[in-house]
């Protein structure tokens, strides 16, 4: 995870909630798109491919490419199709499961 993100929020600040990503605690804007919020705080990559282990991050932001997969409650989900809610527990998908979401 890079501490400095290349994605910048230009909009008005909204209230924040706490979520967990792996072992770190993140403060993200409530109700906003999860993939976008993770990009802003410098989460990259989101996952590694099951085949070669290559790093990946959001590519389409419209639910079509599956490169933004994260694991929530043991299920691989597209971060770009989710909204930030209080207390989310997010993990990087286990390599094995990443291909068959």
């Amino acid at each position: 995870m890079k501490p400095d993100s290349t994605f910048r929020e230009i909009g008005p600040q909204t209230d924040r909630v706490t979520v967990r990503f792996g072992s770190s605690e993140l403060s993200l804007p409530r109700g906003e798109n999860l993939a976008g919020a993770l990009l802003v705080v410098g989460v990259m990559p989101f996952r590694h491919t099951p085949l070669s282990g290559a790093p990946r991050g959001p590519f389409c932001m419209m639910g079509a490419c599956y490169d933004c997969l994260v694991e929530i409650d043991g299920i691989n989900r597209q971060a770009c199709m989710l909204q930030v809610t209080e207390g989310l527990q997010i993990e990087r998908p286990s390599i094995k499961g990443a291909g068959n979401a």
Binding site: T6, F7, R8, E9, I10, G11, P12, E32, N33, G36, A37, L39, V40, M44, P45, F46, T49, L51, S52, A54, P55, R56, G57, P58, F59, C60, M61, M62, G63, A64, C65, Y66, D67, L69, I75, N76, M81, Q83, G99, N100, A101
Partner: protein, 465 residues
């Protein structure tokens, strides 16, 4: 179970205008979209974003409010966050909402699932930090997030639009690397008559170019040999213009060379498709009313062939009129009278389109990628591997899939299908129509056992009542 006269899948301009027109003709409409708010790709989250970011996104974006407002109609039920994963027997739609599967039955179904960006396989396009230009635009519209130190690469009006929106957001791109050539522009002048009919588009294009120049954005036109550099994430883009090699250091690379119909839903129910040579993609076969070979299923908007947002909204209304006639809500004469102004509007939109299509053709280097370029992002299959399957006798994508797993990943070929068709077609010397496309089978989107279990429980409870 939900039931309605008409189920509309997709709440973009096509789906929204169809829903409203059908509702106005007395039909009950169930509108399903996987996004949390109506708008589709062009008007993504317009109700919210227009308030805070309207000036950045421009008047074409704010126009979407006229469509979202009109969804407030007694006959329209709009379910947000409804991910459609299966259509059964041409009348039943399975979808997931809030983690639970649900079922809806409709007398007619309208597919208004829009477009996807054309796959643009160039070396390094799978690196983190490489996104589609549309993705950057979605971040800006929906979340108010701008990419810093970005280079836009490819061709087409959307590239300019995203660039101007970034300029207005105060985070201008480092440069535009454009793949169209002067020869493309010269060729497109044949369609200038059409463009003049669509003069507002021409004017808009010129205005955007002027805005970019004023902002001092460098444009490299006629670029070839494009590649993204980087180890763990994108760190630069390299290309050639007129024999000279260039390298731009950057953090984000935004690719775009046009949009193509999202045909997943139509293909999953075996609606026949044909190759559209002018647009370089497959489009579902449907008549002038959007009717397909499956008699209860219609298609409108970019999903039926790329025409842009205004064309999508007009087509949505036309299809709604035919469905209303079909279900006895109006006579043929009434339908035709109401359709007339819509058709003439559609004619003007289409005329402008052929100019755009020929002035901004897809990037040739991404249509015939180098052997070691990854084509299938999910299964990491290269163009060379696809070509080798042709050598082994593979004629179509489904055979290639069996050999090298291309198209077997979670995206179900959305970002490799057209590339694989094109590569096999070129290698075998067989036209794309004969080469064909992946066979698409439900679920269109992954669905978990837990989600389905919720549906089973619910339906059993309903029956037991």
């Amino acid at each position: 179970m939900h039931s309605a006269d008409l189920i509309v899948i997709g709440a973009g301009p096509a789906g929204m205008s169809a829903a409203r027109r059908a509702a106005g003709s007395g039909l009950s409409v169930l509108l399903l979209d996987e996004q949390p708010a109506p708008g589709g790709q062009i008007y993504r989250d317009v109700d919210r974003a227009s308030k805070t970011r309207g000036a950045i996104l421009g008047s074409d974006f704010i126009d979407g409010l006229a469509l979202t407002r009109r969804l407030a109609h007694d006959n329209i039920t709009h379910l947000r966050g409804a991910v459609v994963w299966q259509i059964e027997e041409a009348t039943r739609v399975n979808f997931t909402r809030n983690g639970k599967a649900e079922l809806a039955e409709g007398r007619r179904i309208l597919l208004a699932t829009g477009a996807l960006e054309r796959p643009m396989p160039v070396p390094g396009w799978t690196l983190p930090g490489v996104m589609t230009a549309g993705a950057a635009q979605i971040l800006l519209k929906q979340s108010g997030i701008a990419c810093e130190r970005a280079v836009l690469v490819g061709s087409g009006p959307l590239l300019y639009l995203v660039a101007t929106q970034m300029v207005r957001a105060g985070v201008p791109p480092l440069a535009l690397v454009e793949t169209q050539t002067k020869a493309d522009l010269a060729r497109s002048l044949r369609h200038l008559g059409g463009a003049l009919r669509g003069w507002p588009y021409l004017l808009k294009g010129l205005r955007m170019l002027w805005e970019l120049r004023r902002a001092g954005i460098v444009r490299h036109v006629g670029a070839t040999d494009i590649a993204v550099e980087g180890d763990r994430s994108a760190s630069g883009v390299t290309f050639r213009v007129g024999g000279i090699e260039h390298r731009i250091a950057c953090d984000t690379v935004l690719l775009h060379h046009g949009v193509v119909p999202n045909t997943q839903a139509a293909r999953s129910i075996d609606i026949p498709h044909r190759w559209d040579d002018a647009q370089g993609c497959f489009a579902p076969e449907c008549d002038e009313w959007g009717r397909t070979a499956v008699s209860s299923v219609f298609i409108a908007g970019d999903g039926a062939g790329i025409g842009g947002a205004r064309a999508a909204a007009l087509a949505g209304e036309l299809v709604a009129l035919e469905i209303a006639r079909d279900l006895g809500g109006m006579t043929e004469r009434e339908r035709d009278a109401e359709a007339r102004p819509l058709r003439s509007g559609l004619g003007a939109e289409r005329a402008a389109r052929s100019f755009i299509d020929s002035a901004y053709p897809p990037y040739a280097g991404a249509l015939a990628p180098a052997d070691d370029t990854i084509v299938c992002r999910c299964e990491e299959v290269t163009a060379g591997e696809i070509r080798r399957t042709a050598g082994l006798g593979c004629l179509g994508p489904n055979q290639a899939k069996a050999f090298v797993r291309a198209g077997m990943g979670p995206c179900q070929g959305r970002y490799c299908g057209l590339s694989v068709t094109r590569i096999l077609s070129d290698t075998n010397g067989i036209p794309p129509d004969e080469t064909g496309y992946y066979r698409i089978r439900p679920p269109l989107k992954p669905v978990t056992l837990g989600e389905i279990a919720a549906l089973a429980e619910h339906e059993t409870a309903e029956v037991g009542k």
